[in-house]
Each structure stands twice: as structure tokens, then as C-alpha cells.
Homo-oligomer: 428 residues x 2
Amino acid sequence: MRLVVVGGVAAGLSAAARARRIDRSLEIVVLEKGEDVSYAACGLPYLVEGRVRAAEQLVVYTAGHFRRERNIDVRTSTEVVAIEHARRRVVLRGGDSLPFDRLVVATGARPDTTGIAGAGLPHVFTLHTLRDGVRLRDFLREKRPRRAVVAGAGYIGLEAVEALRARGLDVTLMFPGHDLLGRHDPELARVLIAHIERFRVDVRAEQPLRSAAALDTDLVVLATGLKPNVELAAEAGANLGPTGAIQVSDRMETSLGSVYAAGDCAETTHLVTGRAVYLPLGTTANKMGRVAGATAAGARERFPGVVGTSVVRVCGLGVAVTGLSKEQARQEGFEPVAARIESGDRARYFRGRPTTVELVADRRTGRLLGGLVLGEDGAAGRINVVATALHHRLCVDDFEQLDLAYAPPFAPVWDPLLIAAQQLQKAM
Amino acid sequence: MRLVVVGGVAAGLSAAARARRIDRSLEIVVLEKGEDVSYAACGLPYLVEGRVRAAEQLVVYTAGHFRRERNIDVRTSTEVVAIEHARRRVVLRGGDSLPFDRLVVATGARPDTTGIAGAGLPHVFTLHTLRDGVRLRDFLREKRPRRAVVAGAGYIGLEAVEALRARGLDVTLMFPGHDLLGRHDPELARVLIAHIERFRVDVRAEQPLRSAAALDTDLVVLATGLKPNVELAAEAGANLGPTGAIQVSDRMETSLGSVYAAGDCAETTHLVTGRAVYLPLGTTANKMGRVAGATAAGARERFPGVVGTSVVRVCGLGVAVTGLSKEQARQEGFEPVAARIESGDRARYFRGRPTTVELVADRRTGRLLGGLVLGEDGAAGRINVVATALHHRLCVDDFEQLDLAYAPPFAPVWDPLLIAAQQLQKAM
């Protein structure tokens, strides 16, 4: 019995490793079209910044490790050009083919630079693969550019802004519309833009990029979003979902028998709205990959979905979100009420700093719908409490009762989360 | 209509403030036998350490503030010596009495030094009131002691050890039995003792203190536990619960009509075991106080109980617990399974440090029962996720699916909580 995995980064290798754990006798082959496997793509901005000194530091495991330690045959520079589902085989570039009994599609995503002229110019970069990161880092070292434009205000764009400012470049951030981090939240946008501007970044909202070539700058980073690599699966007949990514069950089954999909090429379920969502993140890719591997190896595991949690550092500020913003909740048909508070994140004599917490709930049911935490420290820890609450459909009055930890070095006696919940309760 | 509150620290003032918010016309009188109100008792170790420079920094609000800003009559140095329930009045030291319509008993707790000879000697201290903290701080300044003994390994004892070591004293920590932080957990005890010993503290387990007078030392801190101040309520006829503290409903009603109790004098419900528990902590006191005030003012609010969350810094190490340890779970009739893992708390290039996570679950039901997090940073944030899960009776397989935040400055891609959950799942 042979399991073939297409793609050797987060989801693909998680699938392979999980399948191996469940079935020691399975033959497992991972086909990766790039030269690198198992790298921490989220570390790329810090390679650019210089905090990560060598690209190798971002490689979690090598292909050799998988072969030697886990009996997983990882082949790099091996591109799959077709899935022949009826014949249960994949066709490789060059014409060879490889039969499979089970197939995991973990083809990932690619930067979406559709409609941008000059995306291929030597001074224009994306930040998606390890090679992308190395190329940008080397360009910075060798060409010593002074001015940069970052197009796109998702988390990669904002991390790129921080990294380039840290290297001393004059940075312009431009993005279409008014939203940052893909969050419809005008107040968040206002706060973040003001924060970024304090680091002397030229921020330009409502500026979609049409031509990288036309910009008067030394360097352009295109962080204009990701597009799922669905072509292989779609051409083989797998259904795509409403988001345009590959549709999968909670066991990562595609519409094709014995074919599973996971990671940035697939959609998942948003547990707050109950609807399909495309949120390509490393944590989700790993979780989906594990379940795809388990299913492919014959075990019963499931991945129910996400609540939309993420955190990003923007010029030193931790920005963490989960669930829906008030505006998003309205669009989803809820009747949202929000409370936003600012409070110290610990005792003042332990360098307590202001932290902002917003909670959003549905007026009709009292159910918590989302949250936002801004702070230097502790933003991730606090958003995780909200995320846990969202997973289990807590109401505001339950949330207000949470027995959270307190000691002066770590938190104030009324945690900012509870203060926000009390405010929200009043507003309901 | 007059509400009288006995006790003016955490629970008492929370009750008064909440009652005022609900009913602007209520007459509210707070009677505090000490000279100070509304102080942050949890900051006392840091006053001793010197990090808090003036005792006033620990006073959150003054009696004057409550009078002026909230129309609450706070009387300090006013001791209630009896509650005459039938006549609906309290009797004050000196013989005056004060009628009430509603009464909140927030008499707090006192250090339990029963059976310890020499507890009243000038070089022997407890660390409970603001005066205690000031007295110890002044003693350190004036007498410049070199050697100290701390008796008791609860959180106050361990914070006192850290504070006295920070001031350069030779410190001996002695305690009866083997448990630290009131947690039956031999492995935790082993790790913590080893950690404290690295700070050159002489740690002596199985050493109950019988006589402070007999110790050859310059200074003794008695941190031998707290005893609820139940006498006033008990003499008036209020029922005590199985823990010896005042029994209250989830609305903070005592067995006496129109009399409510909250804070360190009262017990509450442990939501994991469903049984009464006495856990005197500032966060719980504030929450109970709010509900007592609401009930006294005629509103319907409830405080369902706690899951036993706490965090303490021990010689720089964050130690956070919630729910039950494996041993405690066994004693409560569960069939506990535990998994303990060590992992980095964020990316290495962001100064990732080892953090330890233990999760405990019930083999029969899969239900999560408790957790422990040790780490320099993030211990409070992570334990709060476990606490939220305990409030809502999550099973291990639910917990494993949590959509937690990830970015290199804040967490590793597999959060230590999720790694622990995966290990626990395997062990079930």
C-alpha cells in the first residue's frame, strides 16, 4: 500500500509523519517541486530583518531526516504535473509516473500577483518560499536599497514593513481599501495605521498596486494575498468549494475517492459562522495535514475547523484577533454588540503596559463572536482564551466568570479580558 | 434602605461598588476594622522586595475616594463585634450599633499561626495586611538581618522567599509534608525545589514549624496558610460549609435572610469536582464581592465557582496551575491520565525558552481535569486557556483542535498546550 503526498512543507509533511505513526508498514512518498522541505515560512520576515542569520535555521527537518528517521521517501525538485485519478497514479514532470493507493494533495498556495505589471522584475519580491526570503535578504545585502514599497496590508505585508524598517529603509505601505489584516474593522485600521506611522512609515490606504514597474523605488515587496494551488486537484476532478479552494470533509476527504487535501490549497470551516473559509495559516495547515495523514492511513480523526485566530507583530505591537469583527458579524447576519477597553496588562511595578481588548457578541443570543487584543506582551495568550471560548460557543455572562490567573508579575487582578466582558455585558 | 458591608478590602469594596452601580439611592456603609481599605495584598511581597517603593502604591482607592466619588460611606478603624440578625443591626466595638436592611459579610481571613510558639515576637512576621508588609520592610531596612526562615510553601511563602533572596538574605524555606503551592504533585515539588535551590535557598521539606522562637535566625516569615474569619457570621447563626468557611449560594446568600458573604471568609464551588472548596484569592474575592453587592441591591447575578486557577512567580519562574493535579484527581475518584511535555515557548530567534506543560484528563470520560504550566513567560496566558476549557468541560480531543494563535515572536507553530494534548491523547 503506497501513500503519495504532493507537497513537502507544512501540511504535506504533517500528513506523512502522522500516517507513518499510525501505520509502520505503509510506503510513503512525498513529492516536492521545490528544493526545500519542512521550512518555517512564518520565519521569513525575520530572515529579511536579519534576526534569523542563516536560512538553514528555518529548516525544521531535511529530506534526509525523513528518509533516515521516519522511513519516508521525500523527493525534492520533483514536480507533479497531473493526477490520473482513474489510474491511481500521478504524472511527474519529465513523463515518469508514480502509482498511489492513497493520495494527499498538499500543494499549498502561491502569492496572488494577478494583474500587477512588473511582478517578475529583479527588484520585485514576494515572501512565500525559503528561496524568496533568501533572494530578498541577498538583495538587501548586495544592492543596499534605500527605499521600499510594500504592497498589501495582510500579516506578511505588515511583517515585511517591520523587517525593512528595522534594516533602515524608508518604507511606503500601500494597500487597496481600508482594511488591515483582512479584518473589516475601521477602528483597528485607524489604531494600526497611527502606530505604523509613528515608525515613520508612509502609509497609503486605498492604493491598489497595478504596476510594480511604475513605482519610483529601489525595492518592492508584493504581499497581495495568497491563491490556493488547486489546479492539479481540480483538473483531476476534485470539487472546489465556495472560496475557490479545494473542498474537504472534516476528515480531509476530497470529492475523489482515496484523495485527501490539506493545508493552504484547501478550505476549512469557520466554526463561528459555520461556513467555508479560506484562511491559509501554518497552524491550520499542520492540523489539517495530521488529519489527512490519519485518514489516509485508515484511522478516524477529524478536524472540525477554525475560529479565525491569528497574531502578528506590527512594529513591536502584538495584534491578535479571533472570530469576527463587529463589521464582519453584521455581514454574517448577527446583531453584534462590541466593547473595547484599554487597561494595564500587569501591575505597574512590573512594567505594566496598556493593552486593548475588544469583544464582540450577538445581542440576540448573548453568544461571543470575536475578539481583538493589542499589546506588547500577552496578546497571544489572551486571544487564545477568547478562541477557546469561541470553539465552545460561550456567552458573555459565562466568559465574565472565567477563573483566570492573577499575580502582579503576570496580570492585573481584573484581567483586561474580564473588564472587556463586563463592559460588553453592560452594552448588551 | 441601608446596605452595611463588614470589611473594606477586595470583596467588601467590590460589593459596595457593585451595589452602588445598580442602585443609586441605596445607603451604603462599609465598616473596616483596620486603617487601610482597598489595598492590593498580592503586592506585599514586592513591597518587601523593594520593587514597590511606597506602601501607598498598593492602595487602589482611599476611603475618601469612595465617599466623594461613589457616595459610599467607608469607615476605617471601625470594628464590628457582633451581628444581631433578629434586630437587623451590627454592634461596633465601643457599644454603638448600626441597623441594616442588607448585610454583606466580607471579613476576610487571617494567617493561621495556630500552635506556633513565638508568633508574636518582634522578628516574626506574617504577610497579610498592608501593615504587615510595611512592618517587615521597615525591619529589613532598620535591623539589616542576614538570615531568614520562611515557614510554609504556599504562594505567599514562595513569594517571600524570592523577595528576601532578592534583598540578599540567606533564606531557609521549611514546610510540612512534601507539597508546594497546596498541590499534591510530587513531580512539581521536585522541579520547584530544584529551581529554588539553584538560588541558594536551603529547602527543608517535612519540617512543620512548632516554635518561631526556637529558630536560630534573624527573621521569620510565617506563611502557614489562611483561616477564614467566620466568627461574626457563625455567632449570628450563619451556616459554615464543609471547608469551615461560610457557606453561600451562587448568589452569595448565607443561611441568614438578607445576609450575604463574599471573599476570603466564604467558600465556593470547585467546578471540576462540583464540591465546596476554600481558595482565598484576590480574583475570586472580587468576583464574589460583585455578586454579593448585586444580590444585596436586588439584581440577579451569579458566581458559579472556580476551577482553581493560580499563578505565582517563584525565583523568576512562572508557575501556573488550574483544576486538579493527577494525585488530586485520583483522590476525587477520577481515573486520571497525565502527560507532561517540555517545549520552546516561542521561536528560538525570539529568545524561546523551555516551558513545561502538564495536562490531566479522566480516562473514563476523556474530560480534561487540570493543567500546569511552568515558564518564564506566557505561563499565565497558557493556563488561562486550560482554565477556560475546564469551565466548559472540554475533552482532550476537543482541546487538541483549538485554533490557537501563532507567530514567531509569540509562540511556536505547535503551541506547547497542543503538544501536551497530543501526548495526552496517546496516553488515554
